[in-house]
C-alpha cells in the first residue's frame, strides 16, 4: 500500500515537473530548477550505468577501429584485442593491418611493433601529458562515467539500446580537439558496444567491441607485448 502511494506521489511530482518545464519560458527560475533536475537525473543515470559497466575485474574483447581522417586517402581499419585487468592494467593488441602491442599500467607504458621488433618502455611519471591522455582513455574503457558530467555536456540520444553523447565543456582539455564522443551500450548495458569520437577537424574514429567477455581469467601472456 505504501509503495503504491509512493509511486502515485512520484507520478504526481513528475507531472508537476513536466508542467513546470513547459512553463519555463515564463518562469525562468523554474526552468533552471528543471535544468538542475535534469542534471541530477543525468548524474544518477551516469552513475548507475557507470556502476553497471565498471562492475568487472577483468575484461577480454576483440575490437575493430575505423578511422576516417583527412590525413589519409582512405579509411583506416584496425583489428585487434583488448585485455583489461583492474586495477590499472590494459593491454591493446593490434593484429591487422600491422602487428602492434602496448601495455599500460599505473606507472609505465611498454610497447612493441613488428616493424622494429623492439620493446620500448616509457615511464608515465616523466610524461604527464601522455598520462593525461591515457587517463581519459582508461575512463572510457573502464566505464567509470560518474566524473564525466563535470567536464562534458551529456545527452541521452537513444534509450534502447542506450546511446549517450558527451560534448567536452570549455574547461575540458579535449575541448580544443574533440567535438563529441558517442557511446553506444550493449543491450544488457554491461559494457560498451561502440565508441565514436568526432574531432573538430572532421576526423572520426569508431571503435566497435566484439565478443566481449567480462570477469574471465586472464593469463600473463595476455599482457605480454612482444609477439
Amino acid at each position: 500500500m505504501m509503495i503504491l502511494a509512493e509511486r502515485c506521489m512520484m507520478m504526481l511530482v513528475t507531472l508537476i515537473l513536466c508542467f513546470l518545464a513547459q512553463a519555463g519560458a515564463v518562469f525562468a527560475d523554474d526552468k533552471s530548477a528543471a535544468a538542475a533536475q535534469q542534471q541530477n537525473d543525468l548524474s544518477a543515470l551516469l552513475n548507475s550505468i557507470g556502476k553497471k559497466v565498471s562492475d568487472f575485474t577483468s575484461l577480454k574483447t576483440e575490437f575493430t577501429q575505423e578511422k576516417e581522417m583527412a590525413m589519409f586517402k582512405q579509411k583506416l581499419v584496425l583489428k585487434g584485442r583488448i585485455y583489461l585487468q583492474k586495477p590499472g592494467k590494459i593491454a591493446w593488441h593490434v593484429d591487422a593491418p600491422v602487428r602492434y602491442s602496448v601495455l599500460i599500467t599505473d606507472t609505465l607504458i611498454r610497447q612493441w611493433d613488428e616493424d622494429t621488433n623492439k620493446v620500448q618502455e616509457i615511464s608515465l611519471a616523466k610524461n604527464p601529458i601522455f598520462q593525461n591522455v591515457l587517463n581519459q582513455l582508461t575512463v572510457w574503457f573502464s566505464g567509470e562515467y560518474g566524473s564525466l558530467l563535470a567536464i562534458n555536456d551529456v545527452r541521452v540520444m537513444q534509450n534502447e539500446p542506450l546511446v549517450l553523447e558527451f560534448v567536452p565543456k570549455e574547461k575540458n582539455m579535449s575541448h580544443k580537439v574533440i567535438k563529441s564522443i558517442t557511446i553506444t551500450f550493449r543491450e544488457d548495458k554491461k559494457y560498451l558496444k561502440q565508441i565514436l569520437i568526432r574531432e573538430k577537424n572532421g576526423d572520426a574514429t569508431a571503435i566497435t567491441f566484439i565478443n566481449t567477455q567480462l570477469n574471465v581469467p586472464l593469463d600473463d601472456s595476455s599482457f605480454e607485448v612482444k609477439r
Partner: protein, 793 residues
C-alpha cells in the same frame, strides 16, 4: 666612597619606606599592564649575523612571494569518493579564501590553453634556437622524411592516437620531440610532482588535489600569521568528512614556534618558581624569602618595558633568556642571608660594595655582547644589563625594606651557612682531581662541533612537520633547492640577463640540474630572434624541399595530398606571441618572477649542494645583480660569522673579567683564583658537549656567555670572603644561588623548543661546573696560597 654611597642610599630608602614601596608597586602595576602593548618578535632572524650574503638572502626570501604562500593538499579519505567529490571540495575551499588575508588562490591551470601555448607552430618558432634548427635541417632529406612518415602512420595504431593523431598534421618532422626536451622539465619546474586534470592540480594517485594560496601576510608577521592560521583552520573544518587537508607554509612555523616558546616559558617559570619556593622555604622557613624570588621577576617585567621603549620590539628568545636571568641574579639572596646573619645598617656599605661588584662583573659579561654585530645579541645585552641594574637596585634598597615587618621582625640567625663553610676537602686531592678533569675536558673541547643549521632550532609542533611530511610524500619536492637570482629594472631586462646567465649556468651544472624560466620562456628579445630565424629557415628553400619530399614519400603509407597542409599553412601565421593570461606560461612566470620595489628578480632553481654553489659562485661575480640564495650557504655564513665574532668577544670577555677582578682585589694571585670558576665553567661546558657529541649553536653559545657571567660572581664572592674572613654567609648564598640557578636553567631542560632546551643544557653544565669549582677548588687554592687576611666584617 662606594660603601658610603650604599650606606646613605639604604638609610634614605628606609626613611621613606612607604614612598619607596608604593612607587615600586605602582610602577610594577603599570609595567604589567604595558606588557600587553609590546610588539614581540618570534623569529630567530634577530639572532642572525648582519653578513652581506645572509642579509641579502633573508631579505630576498622575505620580499619574494615564496615565504608568503600557503599550499594546501586535499586528500580523499573514503575509497567510494572520487575526483568529482575532491574537485567540488577544492572549488568550495578556493572560493572561501577571500581577501584581505588571501590574495589569490590557484587550484590548477587550463590545459586547453596549454595545448595552444605549447603547440608546435605557436611555441616552436619562439623557443627553438640556432642549434635546434640545425638539427631540424639535418632531417629534411629523403630517408629521414620517409622514416618520420612511417612513424606517423604507425602511431595511428596506438590507443592514444584516438586523441592525438590529428596533431601530427601540424608536425611532420616530429618537432614536438625537440619541444618535449624542454617541456619534460615542466613538472619539476612547478616544484611538485603534479598532473593537471580538469584544469586542477592532481597527484599521480588521483586522490589528492593541491591549492596554492598567495596570502597578504608576510611569514614573519606573527600577529597576522596567527589570524591567517586560525581562519584557514576554520575553513578547513568546513570541508566534507571525506576530505582531509595538509597545509604547509612558513606561517605555521611562525605561529607554532611562538606558541612553543610561550608554553615553555610558562612551564619554566612555574617549575622554577615552585623549585625556588620549596628550596627557600625549606632552608629559611621564612615566608619573607618569597621576596628574594619576587624582585628579580619584577625586574624582568620592568626591563621588558624599558627595553621595548628603547628597541621598539622585543624578541621572545631574548625574554626567554631573561627568564633564566631571573634565576641567576643572586644579589637579593646575598642581601637576605647577610641580614639574616645580623648585618645592620652600619654594615650595609660593605654589603652594598660586594653586591655591586657581583653585579658589575655580571653586567660586564653581558656588556661584551654589545660589541657583537648581531642585533639579537645586542638586544640581549641591553635587556640583561637593564634587568640586572633594576635587580641590583631592588636588592639593595627595596628588598631590605620588605624584610623587617612591624609585628614580625626578621629573626636573626648568625650561624646560618656556617656548617657549609666549615666543610673542608683534602686540598691536594681536590686540586688533583680538578686539574685532571679540566685537562681532559680541555683536550676534548678542541673537537666540539658547531652546528650552523638554524632550521634545527625550529620548535614547531609535530603536527606542522607531519603535515609537511604527508605533503612531500604525495607531491615530492623534498629535495632542498637553492635559488640563483637575476635582477633587472624591469621584467624584460631581467629576462634578458636571465637568458645570458642560463647558458653559463647550464654549462657549469648541466641541464638536468638547473631549472630556469629561460628554458621554457626566454626574454621577448630572444623569442623575437628565434621567430625571425625560424621564418628565414623555412623561406630559404626548406619549405619547398620538405613539401617535395613529403609528396614523394607519403604515397606508400596512404597519406592524402593535404595531409600536412596545416603545418605549411601555419608556418608563418602565429596568432600571438604572448602567453595566455591565466595560462601555463603565465603561471610559470609567477613562480619564477618576483617584482618588488621597482626591481624585477628572476629565480632559477638548482639542488642546494656545495659543488653546485661553488660552480655558480664565479658566475655571480661576473654578473652584477646576480646572487645565490641557499640554505647551505646561509648556514656556512652564519657559522663563519659566529666563529669570527667569538674570536673577538671571548678574549674581550676574559679581558673585562680580568681587569674588573684585578681592580677589585688589586692582587694577581687572588684575581686568578677568583677566575677559576669561570675557567672551569667554560672548559667543562665545551668538553662535556664534545664528549656527548652535542653541538654548539647560535643560541647555546649565548647561554654559555650568560652562565659564565654568573659563575664569575661565585669565584669573586668566595675569594673575597676568604681573603677578608667575612661573615656575610657568602658560601651559603652561593650554594643557594647555584641551586636556584640550576633550577631556573634546569627548568628549560623540560622545554620542547630546541633553542630553549639547548640553552638549558648549556647553562646547567656551565653553572654546575662553576659552582663546584668555587666551593671546592677556590677554597683549596685560597688555603694553599694562604690568601686569608683578617678584616672585620
Amino acid at each position: 666612597m662606594l660603601e658610603r654611597f650604599f650606606s646613605r642610599g639604604f638609610d634614605l630608602a628606609r626613611a621613606h619606606k612607604r614612598l619607596v614601596l608604593v612607587f615600586t608597586a605602582l610602577v610594577t602595576a603599570g609595567a604589567v599592564l604595558g606588557l600587553a602593548f609590546i610588539r614581540y618578535e618570534g623569529s630567530v632572524d634577530l639572532m642572525l649575523p648582519p653578513d652581506k650574503d645572509v642579509t641579502r638572502s633573508m631579505q630576498f626570501l622575505r620580499d619574494s612571494s615564496l615565504s608568503d604562500k600557503v599550499i594546501i593538499s586535499l586528500a580523499l579519505t573514503k575509497p567510494e569518493r572520487d575526483k568529482k567529490d575532491l574537485f567540488a571540495a577544492v572549488d568550495t575551499l578556493a572560493a572561501s579564501l577571500e581577501p584581505p588575508l588571501f590574495a589569490k588562490v590557484t587550484s590548477g591551470v587550463s590545459m586547453a590553453d596549454a595545448m595552444d601555448e605549447f603547440s608546435v607552430l605557436q611555441y616552436g618558432p619562439q623557443i627553438l634556437n640556432e642549434d635546434e634548427l640545425a638539427a631540424l635541417d639535418a632531417q629534411i632529406n629523403g630517408p629521414s622524411v620517409e622514416s618520420k612518415l612511417k612513424q606517423i602512420y604507425l602511431q595511428t595504431f596506438r590507443p592514444e592516437s584516438v586523441f592525438t593523431s590529428s596533431l601530427s598534421r601540424t608536425d611532420p618532422l616530429g618537432i614536438k620531440t625537440l619541444l618535449y626536451g624542454k617541456l619534460k622539465a615542466l613538472p619539476s619546474s612547478m616544484g611538485y610532482d603534479v598532473v593537471v586534470e580538469e584544469g586542477r592540480f592532481l597527484s599521480r594517485d588521483g586522490r589528492h588535489a593541491m591549492l596554492i594560496v598567495q596570502t597578504t601576510v608576510p611569514m614573519m608577521d606573527a600577529t597576522r600569521s596567527k589570524k591567517l592560521v586560525r581562519i584557514l583552520d576554520e575553513k578547513i573544518r568546513l570541508l566534507p568528512d571525506y576530505v582531509s587537508a595538509d597545509v604547509i607554509g612558513g606561517h605555521f612555523h611562525t605561529v607554532s614556534n611562538e606558541q612553543a616558546i610561550k608554553r615553555d616559558i610558562a612551564v619554566a617559570t612555574v617549575v622554577a618558581s615552585i623549585g625556588f619556593l620549596l628550596l627557600f622555604l625549606f632552608v629559611f622557613r621564612d615566608v619573607r624569602a618569597f621576596f628574594v624570588i619576587l624582585f628579580p621577576l619584577l625586574a624582568v617585567v620592568w626591563a621588558i618595558i624599558v627595553v621595548a621603549l628603547i628597541e621598539g620590539t622585543l624578541s621572545y628568545l631574548v625574554i626567554g633568556f631573561g627568564t633564566a636571568i631571573v634565576g641567576i641574579s643572586d644579589f637579593g639572596l646575598i642581601v637576605y642571608i647577610a641580614m639574616k646573619r645580623g648585618t645592620d645598617s652600619s654594615q650595609m656599605g660593605k654589603l652594598g660594595k660586594l653586591v655591586f661588584m657581583d653585579a658589575i662583573t655580571t653586567i660586564f659579561s653581558f656588556a661584551v655582547l654589545i660589541f657583537s654585530q648581531i642585533r639579537g645579541y645586542q638586544q640581549l645585552a641591553i635587556f640583561s644589563i637593564v634587568c640586572l641594574i633594576i635587580c641590583l637596585l631592588f636588592s639593595l634598597f627595596v628588598l631590605p625594606l620588605t624584610l623587617s615587618w612591624k609585628r614580625y621582625a626578621l629573626v636573626p640567625d648568625p650561624t646560618i651557612g656556617d656548617r657549609l663553610k666549615k666543610v673542608r676537602w683534602p686540598v691536594k686531592l681536590t686540586l688533583g682531581i680538578w686539574i685532571f678533569l679540566t685537562t681532559v675536558l680541555l683536550i676534548l673541547s678542541f673537537s666540539v662541533r658547531f652546528d650552523s643549521d638554524v632550521k634545527k632550532l625550529d620548535g614547531s609542533s609535530p603536527a606542522v612537520f607531519k603535515a609537511e611530511q604527508n605533503f612531500h610524500e604525495v607531491w615530492g619536492g623534498k629535495t632542498n633547492q637553492a635559488i640563483l637570482v637575476v635582477t633587472g629594472r624591469n621584467v624584460e631586462e631581467a629576462m634578458e640577463a636571465n637568458d645570458r646567465v642560463y647558458h653559463e649556468a647550464v654549462t657549469a651544472l648541466g641541464k638536468e640540474e638547473f631549472t630556469s624560466l629561460a628554458l621554457f620562456w626566454p626574454s621577448e628579445k630572444s623569442r623575437k630572434e628565434n621567430r625571425d630565424r625560424w621564418d628565414r629557415f623555412w623561406k630559404q628553400g626548406r619549405e619547398r624541399k620538405l613539401k617535395g619530399l613529403i609528396r614523394e614519400k607519403s604515397a606508400a603509407y596512404g597519406f592524402s595530398d593535404r595531409a600536412f597542409a596545416p603545418f605549411f599553412e601555419g608556418l608563418y601565421s602565429r596568432e600571438s606571441d604572448a602567453s595566455h593570461p591565466g595560462g601555463l606560461i603565465a603561471h610559470l612566470q609567477e613562480r619564477f618572477v618576483v617584482n618588488r620595489d621597482g626591481e624585477c628578480r628572476i629565480m632559477s632553481f638548482f639542488p642546494d649542494e656545495q659543488r653546485n654553489i661553488e660552480a655558480l659562485r664565479a658566475l655571480t661575480q661576473r654578473h652584477p645583480g646576480v646572487f645565490i640564495v641557499s640554505g647551505r650557504a646561509l648556514s656556512a655564513s652564519i657559522s663563519s660569522f659566529t666563529i669570527r665574532e667569538m674570536y673577538v668577544l671571548a678574549p674581550l670577555a676574559v679581558l673585562f673579567n680580568l681587569v674588573l677582578t684585578w681592580l677589585f682585589f688589586r692582587n694577581w694571585k687572588e684575581t686568578l683564583i677568583a677566575l677559576v670558576p669561570l675557567l672551569t665553567g667554560v672548559v667543562w661546558l665545551l668538553g662535556i658537549m664534545s664528549f656527548f657529541d652535542m653541538p654548539l649553536n647560535v643560541v647555546n653559545i649565548i647561554a654559555g656567555v650568560i652562565a659564565s657571567g654568573v659563575i664569575v660572581d661565585y669565584g669573586l664572592g668566595i675569594t673575597y670572603e676568604y681573603r677578608n674572613s667575612l661573615n656575610f654567609g657568602t658560601v651559603m648564598a652561593m650554594t643557594l644561588s647555584a641551586a636556584s640557578n640550576v633550577i631556573g636553567a634546569g627548568a628549560l631542560l623540560f622545554a620542547g623548543h630546541p633553542a630553549l632546551h639547548s640553552t638549558g643544557v648549556a647553562m646547567v653544565i656551565c653553572m654546575v661546573a662553576g659552582y663546584l669549582s668555587s666551593v671546592l677548588v677556590v677554597p683549596s687554592f685560597c688555603s694553599l696560597m694562604a690568601t686569608s687576611r683578617k678584616e672585620p666584617a
